[in-house]
Symmetry: C2
Subunit: 233 residues, 2 copies
């Protein structure tokens, strides 16, 4: 029996690409900066996995994602010829990740799923980032679990196991919900149930996964459909 649903957030619940492009433009364009804002979002997101790998591999101590994002931002601004952007603007821009919009099915889907399950983000994003997204978008979480609780990054098994344990769940009583097969494969290897959510346009048309490339317990096109499938199960 599944008791808790644990959600990946970036890409699965919120549209990071258009949100980061919008925020970057809003913050930088008034200074006369004109770049390809979507390419900027992609470049920043491109530094995400390598920066977490430093922590996962034990080369640097655990640092929350806001800190990694900030270091990655310096690198990306340099690459876009924007080394002149000052520290205060960089700090403000770094909070762009706290101001992303959900895909349209997310709020009604979570509302429905909340009737039967404990709900929590199990993201690599830090607690304040998850709390800000929740306030902005009216996500009603039972708790915020994930990287900052486990002090390591997905797909390390400890992150999934700490998340399930926080809800007093055996791994098989918790279900990881994500748009990324790698995340789900790691959760399944740790003993969790898995639900794949198709976000085929995650980083622009046709860039996301249409189907899971690994075995999963449930697949759905969004959270409203996930609620229906779990209801039927």
């Amino acid at each position: 029996m599944i008791r808790a649903l644990l959600f990946d957030v970036f890409g699965t619940l919120v549209d990071w690409r258009s949100g980061i492009a919008r925020e970057a433009r809003t913050i930088l364009e008034p200074s006369g900066i004109a770049i390809d804002w979507s390419a900027f979002a992609d470049a920043w997101r491109g530094e995400y996995q390598p920066s977490m790998e430093e922590v996962r591999a034990g080369r640097i101590p655990f640092s929350k994602l806001d800190v990694l994002h900030r270091r990655n931002l310096d690198r990306v601004l340099e690459r876009f010829g924007l080394a002149r952007v000052d520290a205060a603007t960089r700090a403000e821009l770094n909070l762009a990740w706290h101001r992303l919009d959900p895909w349209p099915d997310v709020v009604p889907g979570l509302h429905k799923l909340r009737e039967r399950f404990r709900l929590a983000p199990c993201s690599n994003g830090n607690i304040s980032l998850m709390a800000d997204l929740a306030r902005r978008n009216d996500f009603r979480w039972d708790a915020i679990v994930g990287a900052e609780l486990a002090r390591d990054y997905k797909p390390k098994p400890s992150v999934y196991l700490a998340a399930a344990a926080a809800f007093d769940c055996a791994p098989g009583e918790a279900m990881m919900v994500a748009a990324h097969s790698g995340d789900l494969a790691a959760a399944a290897a740790a003993g969790l149930r898995t639900a794949f959510i198709a976000r085929p346009d995650e980083a622009g048309p046709g860039t996301g996964e249409r189907k899971a490339s690994v075995p999963v317990d449930v697949s759905a096109n969004g959270l409203v459909e996930l609620a229906q499938r779990l209801e039927a199960a």
Copy 2:
């Protein structure tokens, strides 16, 4: 400027004594058990600090409060001559702490405070216990911080500091709200701001603190009054 309010829970927000007495009676009385239910609640609560001290002193690894409560329950049942209570009943009874009622000012007070501040429990209770109390009583938290995040127990400074850091607050940007001077003294020593809430009848008439015995930033008779005082400040 205060950005986050961190709440003690047992005694400050919820009435543990009458809740534990009620739950124990509901669960045990059908088996013909007749004891002083309030005395049973007091005895169970009496084991709380000594059991956490084992963790704080490093004599046992961090164990969440549900685990400590369960061990303490065995000891207390023995003392009340109830060694015959079976394991399934003990497990059910242990969840009594997840089913406590708030003092009457708590829900309206939190609702008002939520307009201006990030809100989180900073309790020695574990995440699932806090999540169950929140569901039951409609506490809308931004996150659940406290002992399970810090993997140690209050009044250790790391618990307060991890709670503030989770909200990206310097210690002085977070305020600990509690009905116990010891909790507030430890939070202040860690650099947090402090608010004392009077719960003079916490463990029965006249048993609680009427006034803080240490310097605090604010004192109030309940959370509605706290909201008014912080509004005025």
